[in-house]
């Protein structure tokens, strides 16, 4: 039987990319700077976000979307900061997609926001394939996870713009080798910005907030 080969060239995630592009354009028009956060479960995304929303909320208009498979615990926790927060419950889906972000934004007036955070589902694999229209993607990993995390999950580090090492207050207790961690991050992603902090003790938080503000100003300039 004769077989005929037809060229197609279509991106499998075309639909997601289209929505992400529309979101990015809407964010830009509204002047809101959008930061997404990815990490494994328990790396401290919510804690960092809680402290960040509280600190930035004093002089910026901030809001957050948080993704989880189930429960709205994180949204409830973050709402204590006073910022508008919405939970995206994905059910069985292990990552956020651009359409989920769009649906969750609902009736929010983007032009009344300066910064919007999008906390992805805790997962270092699946979120790497999906553009959410964000300006900045952060990958977090805690000192308790080990220095070689970047080598184990190179793809997520490669799709992120900056790395944040969290729970630095526990570094000594778990004999975390910060030099090796930085070397591993830069091996999978040369030139990557690396921040280290403890949301609990506040160490490194001032640098982190200043850095974030500078990125937001830069993006809107």
């Amino acid at each position: 039987m004769t077989t005929r080969l037809v060229e197609v060239r279509q991106k499998v995630l075309k639909q997601n990319d289209v929505v992400a592009r529309e979101l990015r354009e809407a964010f830009r028009r509204a002047g809101v700077f959008v930061v997404s956060m990815v990490s494994s479960p328990g790396a401290g995304k919510t804690m960092l976000l809680e402290r960040t929303l509280a600190a930035l909320g004093r002089d910026c208009r901030v809001a957050a979307l948080v993704g989880d498979l189930a429960t709205d615990n994180d949204a409830q926790r973050l709402a204590r900061s006073g910022a508008p927060v919405r939970q995206i419950t994905t059910g069985t889906v292990c990552h956020l997609e651009a359409e989920m972000v769009r649906a969750a934004l609902g009736d929010w007036r983007l032009d009344e926001l300066d910064l919007l955070f999008v906390e992805n589902v805790g997962n270092l694999v699946c979120p790497s394939s999906y553009d959410l229209g964000e300006d900045l993607r952060l990958v977090l990993f805690s000192v308790t996870e080990g220095e070689d995390k970047p080598l184990k999950y190179p793809t997520i580090f490669n799709t992120a713009d900056a790395a944040v090492i969290t729970k630095s207050d526990l570094a000594a207790a778990v004999e975390f080798d910060g030099t090796a961690a930085r070397r591993n991050i830069l091996s999978v992603r040369p030139g990557m910005t690396i921040l280290e902090l403890s949301a609990k003790t506040g160490a490194g938080m001032a640098d982190w907030l200043a850095w974030l503000r500078a990125r937001a100003v830069e993006a809107r300039a």
């Binding site: 039987m1 004769t2 077989t3 005929r4 080969l5 037809v6 060229e7 197609v8 060239r9 279509q10 991106k11 499998v12 995630l13 075309k14 639909q15 889906v93 292990c94 990552h95 694999v125 699946c126 790497s128 394939s129 970047p150 080598l151 190179p154 793809t155 997520i156 490669n158 799709t159 830069l186 091996s187 999978v188 992603r189 040369p190 030139g191």
Partner: protein
């Protein structure tokens, strides 16, 4: 495990294409899969088996063409492979590389059709 939803997108996309080529049948879908796509080949192949059931592609094969990572090396001035995906340096001169050319692909490249 997002391979099932990816497989379903592939089936949906190929089914639409198949309709345009009826009465020919789609016997294989060719996919370019970059090493940095975030998708695992083996998982995608099993997911595709599930996704194609009850679809016009029930007997269609998935042919995966893996795309290695290449970068634009600023010292060599040309496209080069990297040492490994854990070591983003030009495999030829060793210069650290940030500018990815290939390796993020996740696209249907071709269909095989039979009358």
């Amino acid at each position: 495990m997002h391979e099932l939803s990816i497989a379903m997108s592939i089936v949906e996309m190929a089914s639409e294409e198949a309709e345009r080529h009826a009465p020919e049948r789609v016997t294989a879908v060719h996919l370019k899969l970059g090493q940095l796509s975030g998708v695992v080949k083996e998982a995608l192949l099993s997911a595709f088996e599930l996704a194609r059931e009850q679809s016009p592609l029930a007997e269609c094969a998935l042919v995966i063409d893996e795309v290695p990572i290449t970068v634009a090396c600023c010292r060599c001035g040309v496209e080069r492979p990297v040492v490994s995906w854990q070591e983003f340096r030009c495999a030829i001169c060793g210069e650290p590389a940030e500018d990815i050319v290939h390796g993020r692909e996740l696209e249907v490249s071709a269909l095989e059709l039979q009358p």
